[in-house]
Symmetry: C2
DNA sequence: GTCTATACTGAGATAGAC
DNA sequence: GTCTATCTCAGTATAGAC
């Protein structure tokens, strides 16, 4: 599998030319329709060069997936540092920044969703091969919740639950034909608002049976048990 | 697109030989790995014959999708007629019968999920082209809820919500490596139990703000508004 | 190590003979 | 209705220029 560390060995700009051409073509016409030959042609290189840098079309999607995650981490951290936000505002930042990054990339996102039903595939967003992408994303939700006083099970589980809901939102985003996907943004806001209210409600003893039932269900589903390296919080930028 | 009505024009058994071979191969090795050439060979016909009956490989998946839906409708109706079940038992029947039908077909199901992120694709389970499959499935959940006294918005929305949850369960099913996917079955039971309890809770006036918020959210998401032909209840078997 | 040119393979899909 | 031959094109392989 391609990974970004190898990139440094290649001195020229050829790689990014190919990547740019690939992403542009995929944005325009989707992954299927963007052939490696077209990509190479648009990048001004031979077919072999494209395959030299990206062993397959999927490798390009992988790089895109990683890049989106990194960009999201950077922007969320910047937002959290630049202002003292409350829980709702932090969650809104996480969701809307993601949507902003993906704005215009719905066809690329479609390409990624394609492997969702194939657990063994290296690009399955729920599969073992993308665990580190997932962990980085979950860490952002954990960061958003960091200020809250929560019982341990919730503190461990809610970030994963939020991540899962955010994946559902991205699916909604793909189907959202409103201008600029404004419906998706509104849905995110309503959902976050409801989530925050429920979090308050969940502390009421009256709702214990409900809360217990729901979270037992999520725990059974494994939603609360994605293994995490305890020390991991947020991806660090390597000094170049 | 292929549809089952055309089938009658083809007199021979060739079609079902091809279909059987195709489904067997796809169950065994997945859609990608099952080539049309292999399918034709296993069915004992030439490549051209396979394409004569199924204009594309996707057409085979389409036929499978339709067949699963029809089989599910038949079994659910049979279960509901053979005994007087309460709500929880009816919902269990709908969920477990679906899982039984799909048992052993996880690779085929994977193939179907592949198009979930492509709204325009004829096989997208959320797309306009599969609306009738969806309506048939939603009708079964409506049937399961039929005995309950519900406010109008819930009566309209809950079947769609249950259908959406059932799709999530199928995704879980694909990732469930427990023997015979027993975890999925248990999760279905817990989820149904919780759903029924929540339905009771939702009637308490105390929870009005919560219920209002959640259902407003789902309505905004469009989950409650999939257009339905009012007269439609359950697919009828055409007398042959 | 970086890249070009070109030919090969395998698979979906089609045309036309019978 | 069925077969054989063929087309197209993604992806691969390779040989070699620099």
């Amino acid at each position: 599998m391609f990974n970004t560390q190898i990139a440094r060995k290649h001195s020229s700009e050829t790689r990014s030319q190919i990547l740019d051409a690939a992403l542009a073509l995929c944005r325009e016409r989707g992954l299927e329709a963007a052939t490696m030959r077209d990509i190479a042609k648009h990048a001004g290189v031979a077919l072999g060069a494209a395959y030299y840098y990206f062993p397959s079309k999927e490798a390009i999607v992988q790089v895109y997936y990683d890049a989106v995650g990194d960009e999201h981490s950077l922007r969320v951290q910047a937002a959290f540092q630049s202002a003292n936000l409350d829980l709702e505002a932090r969650l809104r930042a996480v969701f809307h920044l993601k949507l902003e990054i993906l704005h215009g990339d719905r066809r690329l996102l479609s390409a990624l969703f394609r492997y969702t039903g194939e657990p063994e595939h290296p690009l399955s967003v729920f599969g073992p091969a993308t665990r580190s992408n997932r962990q980085k994303s979950i860490a952002l939700f954990r960061l958003a919740l960091a200020g809250e006083k929560l019982p341990e099970d919730l503190a461990g589980g809610l970030p994963i639950l939020l991540w899962a809901l955010h994946m559902l939102l991205l699916l909604y985003f793909l189907y959202d034909d409103s201008p600029e996907q404004s419906r998706t943004h509104r849905l995110a806001d309503s959902g976050i608002s409801l989530f925050v209210r429920m979090l308050t409600l969940a502390r009421l003893p009256l709702l214990k049976p409900f809360r217990g039932g729901l979270f037992a269900l999520l725990r059974d589903a494994g939603l609360f048990s994605e293994p995490t390296s305890p020390a991991y919080v947020v991806p660090q930028e390597e000094p170049s």
